[in-house]
């Protein structure tokens, strides 16, 4: 748990970004496990937020997430990111079946890099735990993914971002006959994270 605690449990901007990225890492792994995108035997248990989280042991996924989240963290500090989306696509038809939106809002009036939050860490953790629980329980209402699927992570930024190497522009992922479910949100008083799942409704 890489939270940065400085001077009587105050959280810096960078620390907040780290908290958010940790949440994203666990949340994405959890979704990958729950939605059955990869075989369950490639996941191992890891306890966090007082929950048993399942983390992928696939080297490729790990590398991909590491790279992506490092970039997200930088951009979060720079306040460029609007939204991070985990897009699940049918490989055969290239149809987008599910989109997990992690909407980012920047709180507080201070826009400098020295912004600090006094929100206690255990409350933030509790909030994150609630969201992760919701993600885990979302399997009960989401449609079964009975085809070969893969995922991608899209980062929605404000205009004028200098693209680092290995990054490319992507298309927005629209879903037909969609239904969306909002999860709980959590906030570090610097970043507010809202999780929304949008999925294709098969019964339509």
């Amino acid at each position: 748990m890489a939270t940065v605690l400085k001077n009587k449990s105050s959280i810096t901007l960078r620390g907040s970004a780290e908290i958010v990225c940790d949440y994203l890492n666990y949340g994405i792994n959890s979704i990958l496990y729950q939605r059955g995108l990869y075989p369950p035997e490639t996941f191992r248990n890891e306890e966090n937020y007082e929950l048993v989280m399942l983390m992928s042991t696939d080297q490729k996924i790990k590398e991909f997430l590491e790279k992506t989240l490092a970039q997200v963290k930088d951009w979060l500090v720079e306040r460029i990111v609007n939204k991070i989306a985990l897009v699940i696509t049918n490989v055969k038809t290239l149809e987008v079946l599910e989109r997990w939106d992690f909407n980012v809002e920047y709180e507080g009036n201070d826009t400098s890099k020295e912004q600090k939050s006094e929100k206690p860490l255990n409350i933030i953790k509790k909030e994150i735990r609630d969201v992760l629980r919701q993600i885990t329980s979302s399997v009960s209402f989401l449609p079964l993914l009975d085809c070969l699927c893969s995922f991608d992570i899209h980062i929605y930024t404000k205009d004028d971002v200098e693209l680092p190497n290995e990054w490319a522009e992507s298309e927005p992922a629209n879903i037909k006959n969609a239904q969306c479910v909002k999860m709980k949100s959590f906030s570090t008083n610097i970043h507010k994270m809202e999780t929304v799942v949008t999925y294709k409704n098969e019964d339509f």
Partner: protein
């Protein structure tokens, strides 16, 4: 260790006094031996210290022996310089002692080696001995165990022996009892036999006596029979004599009868002769009358012929008469017919003439031969018929034409009526139109009047205006009024132009309406209604479309849910994400599959091409193979059948052989159950059953028959435990029984 000790020893020797030298030598030797021994015994302890301490004790310096010795040595050095010979001697001694020391050392070393070897040997031996002792101990234990078991067994055996002895004594007693019983039986039987013997002897004596009596009686009977034979001979002789007398008597009777027969014959002949005489007389008389009779006969014959001819003639005449009568009748009929025919002929001739005249008339040729007339007539008639045919054709055509004309006329009439209807309708509409025109004209009048009134109004306004202008030119106060009036005028002018526009519009409308109304007012009405309907329809459609729009809006909202919101920014992702990797993998996989499919298609094609040739070979091969296999199967079946037959025959033979050799017929009824019937069995139901038990021995099963053989079973099976003995003894028993029976019979 040794070297250390030796060094110390050497040092000691070097600084020893010459007087004590020998002593020292001895002590050294002793010491060396001692040290060696000490080393030997305390090999693991620190010998250096010990030796050193011992030496120090010998040297008389308990704390620092070397230094003291050195101090000791330094003092005598000064004293002993004077005698070199002694020194030489001492040196020689020293050398000798050194030699001896080295010798001793080598010996000690050698001894050490030996000791070590010995120790190793001892150790080995010790180990082996220990092993042996352990082994022995084990064996002893084992042996003890064995001994115990053996003892136990011995005890058991003893107990068994005792039991057996008891049993045997019991058995002995029982057998003794049995033997006694059997002896008693034997004695009974022998006594019975003796009694039987006595009885039999008395019976035999009686029988012999009877035989003698019977022999006497037989002799008497023989004598009687001889007497009777003589008597019979006599009687036979008498009988013969009497018989001969009887035959003579019969012969005489026969002769008498023969003579009587001759007598009767003679009487008969005599009577015949008398009759003959009478007949000869009558014949002679008849002969005299014969010629006359013959004449009469001839006459009568002739007469007869005549009568016969007459009769024949009469019959012929009668037939002729009959025939003639028939002919007469026919002729009469024909005569009547003839008269009729003549009449007809006349008539026909008349007709003919008439016809001819007619024909001539028809042909309009009087000088025509009668013969050519019919032909001509026929041709004329044919011509006429053809004419008639053509005429009928024409008639038919004309009739059809007539029909069509009638139909046309009907149609025309209908059209006419329609047109008349239309005309009336049109007249009606015309009137309506006229009415409408009238109304419109009235309206027009009204409108024109209205227009006139408007014009009048306008004129009045204009007048007003001019009046105002005129009034305004007077006075300064009126300047404001003028201003206001001007504004008013402008306003009024605007209004007027508006009115004018309106009027013009109205006029145009009026004209339009007039024009339209004058043309086709009813159609216009229809149009209006139609338009109204259309308006309604459009309204409905409008509502429908609005609903549809609402629906679509709802749908659109739903679509919007699925749409991604960019919020005016951009979307970025890592170019090497799992999706793209997955897609690339998939593409590669697809390509591979495609290649494989192509390859397989080619293969299939090749196969198909190559199939037809190979197929034929395959099929022929397979059929050949099938035939071969079938033949093989049939061969095998034949073989098995033969084997079966052979086995059956050999089995039967074997069974027969067994039956004849051992006297028992063996039948295997079910699983390991054998039924035996003896060759000498008294009944067919006397069967012995044997069955294999689990340990592979045969058991005799209880049957009705076996229960009767308790003695044999007891003896041979229970005692001797031998089935062959049992069976053979049974055979012997049965055989003896049988032969006994046959002898008795």
């Amino acid at each position: 260790m040794n070297r250390h000790s030796n060094d110390t020893i050497l040092k000691m020797i070097n600084y020893m006094k010459p007087s004590v030298n020998k002593m020292v030598d001895d002590t050294i030797a002793d010491e060396a031996e001692e040290t060696a021994l000490e080393d030997f015994s305390f090999i693991n302890k620190t010998p250096l210290k010990r030796t050193a301490s011992k030496l120090s004790l010998d040297g008389g310096s308990p704390t620092t022996p070397v230094k003291k010795i050195k101090e000791d040595i330094k003092k005598p050095d000064w004293d002993y310089i004077g005698s070199p010979r002694e020194v030489r001697r001492l040196r020689a001694d020293l050398l000798e002692t050194r030699n001896t020391i080295s010798n001793l050392e080598s010996r000690i070393n050698h001894m050490h080696g030996i000791r070590k070897e010995m120790q190793v040997l001892f150790d080995n031996e010790c180990r082996s001995l220990k092993k042996q002792t352990e082994h022995d101990r084990k064996s002893i234990l084992e042996l003890e165990n064995q001994l115990q078991t053996i003892r136990k067994r011995e005890q058991e055996l003893k107990l068994e022996l005792v039991e057996f002895k008891n049993k045997s004594s019991v058995l002995k007693i029982s057998y003794d009892q049995k033997i006694e019983a059997l002896e008693k039986k034997l004695s009974d039987i022998s006594s019975e036999q003796k009694a039987h013997h006595g009885q039999e002897n008395s019976e035999i004596a009686n029988l012999q006596r009877q035989i003698l009596e019977l022999q006497n009686a037989l002799q008497i009977a023989k004598e009687d029979s001889e007497v009777h034979q003589k008597l019979t001979e006599k009687l036979e002789n008498q009988l013969l004599e009497k018989n001969s007398a009887i035959t003579e008597l019969e012969m005489k009777n026969n002769e008498i009868q023969k003579l009587k027969l001759q007598m009767k014959e003679y009487d008969y002949i005599k009577e015949n002769y008398l009759e003959f005489q009478e007949q000869a007389k009558t014949q002679s008389t008849k002969l005299a009358q014969f010629v006359q009779i013959e004449k009469e006969n001839v006459q009568l014959r002739a007469e007869n012929f005549r009568i016969k001819d007459e009769i024949k003639n009469k019959l012929l005449l009668e037939e002729e008469v009959h025939d003639l009568k028939k002919r007469l009748q026919k002729f009469k009929e024909q005569e009547a017919k003839f008269a009729n025919v003549q009449m007809q002929l006349v008539q026909t001739e008349m007709y003919l003439n008439e016809w001819k005249a007619v024909a001539r008339g028809i042909l309009e040729e009087t000088n025509v031969n009668d013969t050519a007339l019919p032909h001509l007539l026929r041709s004329a008639v044919e011509r006429l018929q053809q004419q008639e045919l053509t005429l009928t054709d024409e008639k038919v055509n004309l009739q059809s034409q007539l029909n069509t004309a009638l139909h046309d006329s009907k149609v025309a009439k209908e059209e006419l009526s329609k047109i008349q209807k239309l005309l009336t309708k049109l007249n009606g509409t015309d009137e309506q139109k006229k009415n409408l025109i009238h109304r419109m004209q009235k309206k027009l009048l009204l409108v024109s009047r209205e227009r006139d009134s408007y014009r009048l109004q306008l004129d009045s306004y204009e007048k007003d205006l001019t009046m105002c202008v005129n009034t305004s030119s007077l006075g300064s106060q009126a300047a404001n009024q003028v201003q206001s009036l001007k504004e008013r005028v402008e306003n009024l002018e605007k209004i007027v132009t508006g009115y004018r526009d309106m009027v013009a519009k109205l006029e145009a409308d009026l004209q339009n309406t007039e024009h339209d109304n004058s043309d086709l007012p009813p159609i216009r009405l229809e149009q209006i209604t139609r338009l109204q309907n259309e308006v309604d329809k459009f309204k409905q459609e409008n509502e429908r479309l609005r609903e549809r729009k609402d629906q679509l809006e709802i749908q659109l909202e739903e679509y919007l849910v699925g749409n991604d919101t960019l919020r005016g920014g951009r979307v970025y992702h890592l170019s090497s994400n799992p999706l793209s990797e997955c897609l690339a993998q998939r593409d590669a996989h697809m390509q591979k599959l495609q290649e494989e499919v192509d390859r397989l298609k080619r293969k299939v094609k090749n196969m198909e091409e190559g199939m037809e040739s190979s197929k034929l070979v395959d099929i022929s091969m397979s059929t050949k193979e099938v035939q071969m296999l079938k033949e093989e199967i049939s061969n095998h079946e034949l073989q098995t059948q033969r084997l079966k037959d052979y086995f059956k025959s050999s089995m039967l033979e074997f069974r027969d052989a067994v039956y004849m050799l051992f006297g028992y017929k063996v039948d295997k009824s079910s699983k390991s159950l054998y039924k035996l019937t003896s060759i000498y069995a008294e009944n067919a139901e006397d069967i012995l059953c044997f069955q294999f038990n689990n340990s592979g021995h045969l058991n005799l099963l209880e049957t009705e028959y076996s229960s009767r053989l308790e003695n044999l079973i007891e003896l041979h099976l229970r005692h001797q435990d031998s089935i062959p003995n049992f069976l053979s003894s049974l055979t012997l028993d049965l055989y003896s029984n049988r032969t006994m029976i046959t002898e008795q019979l």
